[in-house]
């Protein structure tokens, strides 16, 4: 089995602050991490390799510093790592991103054997679109299996895979074929700890750095800004609510009294709610 796992290095968005005056992002000193959703994909890939053997190639598109994320993935136990990095990719939207990554996966196929499964996380925490996985699947004509919670079985000889997929209101059981692209849902596993051996190996491991040309992209019109139909025209801060909450005074009052006051203010603000709740709720 050859498995490609697409990961992304992202700023830890919990630690991003917005400059109060200029409304710009203060990234300085914000640590970067592997997109948390991608770790579910990576662990699932490891599990498949544990059962069925094979090799795992991690692939990322990003600036040269994304090498750190690659080394981390190698520490967890990936077999090889490819960093797709080129200034021509700057400003890519999801359509251009899926183009570049899909091209790199074709090239990976040429060099190391065509992948049976391509994994991605459900979405990234910086872009939050959940569009790149489906975009790659469509471009490479892979079976698209999104929001997967479980790989139920794999039949290597028949090249069949059975999965459970989260959908609105329930879980779908799907049977599909290789090659496929799986986007993993969160919380379905947790990434294994890297071994000391892997950490030592990762530190020295030669990470392949591919430019657009290395990935076999000749026409750059599909890359970066030129290949992105969407453009960001304006960035702004959400308008703050003019008023802070009306505070209910709690001094020298029992919880019961304060609660009565809160209830009174709820129904003053939302008079229709009282009738609705009396007819369907309580008692």
């Amino acid at each position: 089995m050859h498995i490609v796992v697409c990961i992304k290095q992202v700023p830890d968005s919990a630690q991003i602050r917005v400059h109060p005056v200029t409304n710009t992002i203060m990234r300085q000193g914000v640590p970067t991490i592997i997109n948390p959703y991608d770790l579910f994909a990576l662990e699932e890939a490891f599990k498949v390799r544990d059962c069925h053997g094979g090799a795992i190639t991690v692939l990322t598109m990003g600036p040269p510093m994304a090498e750190q994320a690659m080394r981390k993935a190698l520490t967890y136990g990936a077999d090889r790592a490819i960093l797709l990095t080129d200034r021509h990719f700057a400003g890519s939207d999801t359509l251009a991103t899926s183009f570049a990554i899909a091209q790199a996966i074709v090239k990976i196929g040429d060099s190391f054997g065509a992948p049976d499964i391509v994994f991605t996380g459900k979405q990234t925490i910086d872009g939050d679109t959940a569009q790149v996985g489906p975009g790659i699947a469509k471009r490479l004509d892979l079976q698209q299996l999104t929001y997967i919670t479980k790989i139920a079985s794999i039949d290597r000889h028949a090249r069949e895979i059975t999965v459970e997929r989260r959908s609105e209101g329930g879980t779908q059981m799907l049977k599909s074929k290789f090659p496929c692209l799986i986007t993993m849902l969160e919380g379905v596993n947790s990434i294994r700890r890297g071994s000391l051996d892997n950490a030592l190996r990762a530190a020295r491991f030669p990470i392949l750095k591919w430019s657009a040309a290395d990935a076999g992209i000749e026409d750059l019109a599909n890359c970066g800004l030129r290949g992105s139909p969407t453009v960001v025209k304006r960035v702004f801060a959400p308008t703050a609510r003019a008023q802070k909450a009306m505070q209910i005074d709690t001094t020298d009052k029992t919880a019961g009294h304060v609660a009565d006051e809160v209830v009174a203010s709820i129904f003053t603000n939302q008079p229709s709610l009282e009738g609705e709740l009396s007819s369907n709720g309580s008692a």
Partner: protein, 370 residues
């Protein structure tokens, strides 16, 4: 103190400022489409919410609004879906019925929608940002090689008629407005409950345009083996509840969540939580409220022991009334809540539950007292 070096999020100032020159072959794209999501016979309410937005866009552009219905033949749900489309503002409906469209699968749905777009050439195409909608939108946009803006919170038409799609960025700390310049259709997804439910039209009428699905089962690789409905497990109808109580880390321990549940049960509402509780395994993921969980739009939201981080805020801002209970009077939740109580949620929630019961069932209460 040193001011940190800041930078603007990557934006294409140069290109965005460029005058739009839509290629000729896109210039005949007209009308606003809303994909009517039908899974297992049920219309997803997000589609109706989108029809409300779509109607406004279509009126501004002076074009028609169409609902796109894709589903199984002999009607499970397609009839009501078309009726709903007209009832919530569509002028016409495109319909593809086929036995291959019983359950959602990417291949036949992508084929159906892209064929319809290529044939009838809409200017704007909107889908719900549900698991189905996101799965479908991503592959349709890639097939059509057009732009797609995910999880929009605001849609508008600007002076030159372009779709201005606004969405949160950087974890909700900023908003950005995105345009699709030189491609059509302009595609966007919107999460359930972000847009308000529109009024029903008094006397709905519309035209139905049918198409065939140009596909046979043998061409479809992925097969559906089964479906396990959530109603067999715990049903969380959080997004559409009128009253929601959310518990946060301030509750301190998993046991204390019972106060949240008792409140919800007593008042006939739903309960949810902030993300750390899901990470701790105190509540299942489908109860998480916020940017990476559910968006809610209740008439009343009670936030108990929740700090009000931006990622939580974006999921609850649509609530008509937010009541916050927090021990810290400087907690950010008080910046956007309407009513605030500085109190220990563990002790105050039971008191609130009791007070509500008293108020809502006065006669029963009198009986108890007498």
């Amino acid at each position: 103190m040193e001011i940190q070096k800041s930078e603007t999020p990557s934006q294409a100032t140069g290109r965005a400022a460029m005058k739009k020159e839509l290629p000729k072959h896109y210039q005949d794209h007209r009308h606003v489409w809303v994909f009517i999501e039908l899974e297992r016979g049920q219309v997803h309410p997000v589609s109706l919410e989108l029809l409300g937005e779509g109607r406004k866009l279509a009126d501004k552009l002076g074009v028609q609004l169409a609902g796109v219905v894709v589903g199984p033949r002999d009607g499970v749900g397609t009839g009501p879906a078309i009726a709903d489309a007209f009832a919530y503002g569509a002028d016409l409906a495109y319909l593809i019925e086929s036995p291959l469209l019983v359950d959602y699968r990417n291949e036949p749905f992508t084929k159906a929608l892209t064929d319809l777009v290529n044939c009838h050439r809409p200017e704007i195409l909107l889908l719900g940002a549900t698991t189905l909608g996101r799965d479908l939108a991503g592959s349709v946009a890639t097939t059509l090689q057009t732009g797609l803006t995910a999880d929009c919170t605001e849609l508008d038409v600007d002076v030159d008629g372009s779709l201005a799609a606004t969405r949160p960025t950087f974890g909700g700390s900023l908003l950005c407005t995105i345009y699709t310049l030189n491609c059509r259709p302009q595609m966007a997804t919107v999460r359930p409950r972000v847009m308000a439910m529109p009024q029903r039209v008094a006397k709905p009428i519309g035209r139905v345009i049918r198409h065939d699905l140009m596909m046979v089962e043998e061409e479809i690789v992925t097969k559906v083996l089964g479906f396990l409905s959530d109603s067999q497990s715990e049903d969380a109808n959080l997004a559409y509840a009128d009253v929601v109580v959310g518990g946060g880390l301030g509750l301190g321990a998993a046991e204390n969540l019972q106060h949240v549940k008792v409140f919800a049960r007593t008042i006939g509402g739903e309960f949810g939580c902030s993300r750390p509780l899901v990470q701790k395994g105190w509540m299942p993921f489908d109860r998480q409220i916020g940017q990476t969980g559910k968006t809610i739009r209740p008439k009343l939201y009670v936030a108990a022991g929740i700090s009000g981080a931006i990622q939580h805020r974006v999921g609850v801002e649509g609530a008509d009334l937010i009541v916050a209970i927090n021990t810290d009077r400087n907690a950010p939740i008080f910046d956007f809540a309407h009513v605030g109580v500085v109190a220990d949620a563990i002790r105050f929630l039971p008191a609130l539950t009791e007070a509500l019961t008293r108020r809502l069932a006065p006669r029963d209460h009198m009986k108890l007292v007498n």
